[in-house]
Symmetry: C2
Subunit: 316 residues, 2 copies
């Protein structure tokens, strides 16, 4: 049995990953912000949950409680482009400083332990056309993107200079059941409200032409596990996307068909800050490791709608 540490295990991707990891013969330990009852964290597949900062003291505590860690998935960090403009220092702390603590602890206590680090396609920023390869120029367009790029630099330094074994995954537009933010959830909330009021138009920000690469959270959780054996001193980087760019207006079309009724989307035509026009993954390296997503966008959106309707939608 392996003991696996998942940082940010209470987050959207962290929960999904923890559940998947716990189905194999693993003890999965989580750390991150937020109080969770034991039955609830057990339902995420976690044997232990530490509510707190990722720092030396808490990491030591985990090791004392759970014994030697065999693998780490580092998912903790800033998770909102918008909030990184409102409070860049908080995003910096969560993404850069926390990673510094984790990497240093690994260097000092268990330098052989492989670490899969989750970064973001936001490191690519604006100005890219077509699928973006992992060696493309980085031009982050937000504090969030800058901090993820800094996290990657720090990880590479710990590989180059101290022999840590790391692989980085730059996630594109992750969606799925349980994510209570971003486009597809917003569409659910808006559709619910619009239909309650006997209206038919979903009013959305942006131009609708923004191209994004959508990947379902279940596929992401599998991808992170598939990347795990690639952890090495070379610090390889993998895009986490499907390779297909779909415009926001096309997502809205798929959504409205799946939702039912006579809905249409309108866009305010204003580009948002921190919002590049095109972010689509080159999947060359993913093909090399034999990864392909299993859940296509239409099925994924269908699952999100079903899950949304099965819950109380009053929270919108």
């Amino acid at each position: 049995m392996s003991t696996i540490l998942v940082t940010g295990a209470r987050g959207f991707i962290g929960r999904t990953l923890a559940v998947q990891l716990s189905r194999s013969d693993n003890a999965v330990v989580g750390i991150g912000h937020g109080s969770i009852s034991q039955p609830r964290y057990h339902s995420f597949g976690l044997t232990e949950w530490i509510n707190g900062e990722i720092d030396h003291a808490n990491l030591q505590l985990i090791q004392r409680r759970c014994g030697q860690i065999d693998s780490i998935f580092h998912l903790a960090g800033g998770s909102h482009v918008g909030r990184s403009f409102e409070n860049p220092a908080e995003d910096f702390l969560r993404t850069v400083v926390a990673a510094g603590q984790l990497l240093e602890w690994v260097r000092l206590t268990c330098p052989h332990v492989p670490i899969v680090i989750v970064s973001s396609a936001a490191v690519y920023g604006a100005g890219h056309i077509g699928p973006i390869a992992e060696d493309a120029r980085l031009n982050p367009f937000s504090p969030y993107g800058t901090h993820k790029a800094m996290l990657e630099s720090l990880a590479k330094s710990y590989c180059d200079n101290f022999g840590l074994r790391i692989a980085i995954c730059r996630l594109f537009s992750v969606y799925g059941e349980g994510l209570e933010k971003q486009l597809i959830y917003d569409l659910c909330c808006k559709a619910e409200t619009v239909q309650k009021n006997n209206l038919d138009t979903l009013a959305l920000g942006g131009t609708g032409n923004e191209l994004r690469d959508w990947i379902h959270v279940q596929d992401v959780a599998e991808l992170l596990q598939q990347i795990h054996p690639a952890c090495s001193e070379a610090c390889p980087i993998f895009n986490g996307g499907s390779g297909t760019g779909v415009s926001v207006s096309d997502v809205a079309s798929v959504f409205t068909k799946s939702w039912g009724g006579e809905l249409k989307a309108s866009f305010n035509q204003q580009q948002r800050s921190g919002d590049p026009k095109s972010l689509v993954a080159s999947t060359h390296r993913l093909k090399e490791i034999g990864f392909a997503p299993k859940i296509d966008l239409a099925s994924g959106i269908g699952r999100v709608i079903e899950s949304f309707r099965s819950k109380n939608a009053e929270s919108c």
Copy 2:
């Protein structure tokens, strides 16, 4: 009269800069690590000295004591490539985390204040041949270099996203009277010891062929002031060097001539980690702002030797 904050004002370059700034009609305030008596910090040209971390509380304290800050020179940070291998977390704190605190404080309290940030040619790392332009690929070769590159990314993010006005200076091999480390000081110590023992060989690490770009600390202090008007949202970057590459063995030759007696240097032929073969500045941008160093290497080495001899050399 302007009020100028110099972080790291107790350091080798910070002291020299503070003295120069105080000669014009400026109140110069310093912050950094180390207890200094009032007469001593007055001798550095400082009106105030805060012994402590660069954090929000200390920066607020400075503002309460000294009023509105008009300009900032940010020199605090890790200053030893070697120590960054021994204790990367400390170097990270000093270079990356401290800069995060400073930039956030400026954003929140005085976003119009120009900041000159001192970085290092270590961001370029290995693999460069000939003069390195500021837009060259960064490939840091040590935690020290990585952390300086992260500092630069963070500064650029605060310019791009929050309109801060910054200019960055990547310093090459700075030397001068009072620097009690690195090649030229080591040569002084070794020459002293060798002659005391009636020997003639200065034993040095490396191959002797390492090319470095030497710039005297007085020239650096002038350069930082000359860069100051360039602070802008575009976050321009300037090399801080002379544009001339001189090998370590040639430095040793200039030194032994200047020192006197029958000395020669020998090299152990081992390349040190974190030690690129060639680090020489392209001075294209420096010429654009009309900067040229005034102190040539032979005169500079002469000054270091004179200063070394006038002090008690027992500390070697």
